[in-house]
């Protein structure tokens, strides 16, 4: 089945130690999103890619970076994680000109110790 895959599902990192989260999709969607979601809150958009065009939200900390080397893969790099970065990170996709519904991955739960 076509889907959005996130690895790892659970990530523990130390304060200040760089970490990379990955997302892949088999849907061939041209738009990909990274969200941060804290407990019982709405997802907060960090970045999105329209093809290779990168769009950064104004309030996304500089500590967060992203890469999209090809249509299928997208990475979220957190250069120096702080305790406040502990959250669920969601990857999602949508297709230009389609029904515009988002397809979400299962998320990566990041713990910072």
């Amino acid at each position: 089945d076509a889907m959005v895959i996130q690895n790892p599902r659970y990530q523990v990192t130390q304060f200040g130690k760089p970490v990379t989260l990955s997302c892949s999709q088999t849907l061939n969607h041209n738009v990909m999103y990274w969200y941060q979601q804290k407990s019982s809150q709405a997802p907060k958009l960090l970045f999105h890619y329209y093809d290779k065009d990168f769009n950064n939200e104004a309030d996304t900390p500089d500590n967060f970076q992203s890469r999209r080397p090809n249509t299928s893969f997208c990475f979220l790099d957190i250069r120096s994680p702080g305790l406040g970065d502990a959250a669920m990170y969601l990857c999602a996709t949508t297709r230009f000109g389609g029904g515009y519904e988002q397809y979400f991955g299962p998320g990566t739960r990041l713990t910072v110790t």
Binding site: V31, S40, A42, H48, F104
Partner: protein, 114 residues
Amino acid sequence: AQTVTQSQPEMSVQEAETVTLSCTYDTSESDYYLFWYKQPPSRQMILVIRQEAYKQQNATENRFSVNFQKAAKSFSLKISDSQLGDAAMYFCAFFTSGTYKYIFGTGTRLKVLA
């Protein structure tokens, strides 16, 4: 800027009963899409139902239906014959193809009582 408001942080419904979750939004756009997403505890976010703003007919998906009032900027979700598996966080979301961004409401936690 668009905003989405869900005024009910939590709702409860008896199994087999009907419940309505509220969502209002604000926009100056005329062409947009509205969605309800379901996020069960510790599980993936999935689409429940979608409404195109240019369509007057309310969307329906099995037990789920919406009441879309464009002039009032209201988009409520009705769940009929509620089941235990409907227990989840429900998010209302707004999308325009101009920005390719989704604006989410704060969510409503639905509890289903046996």
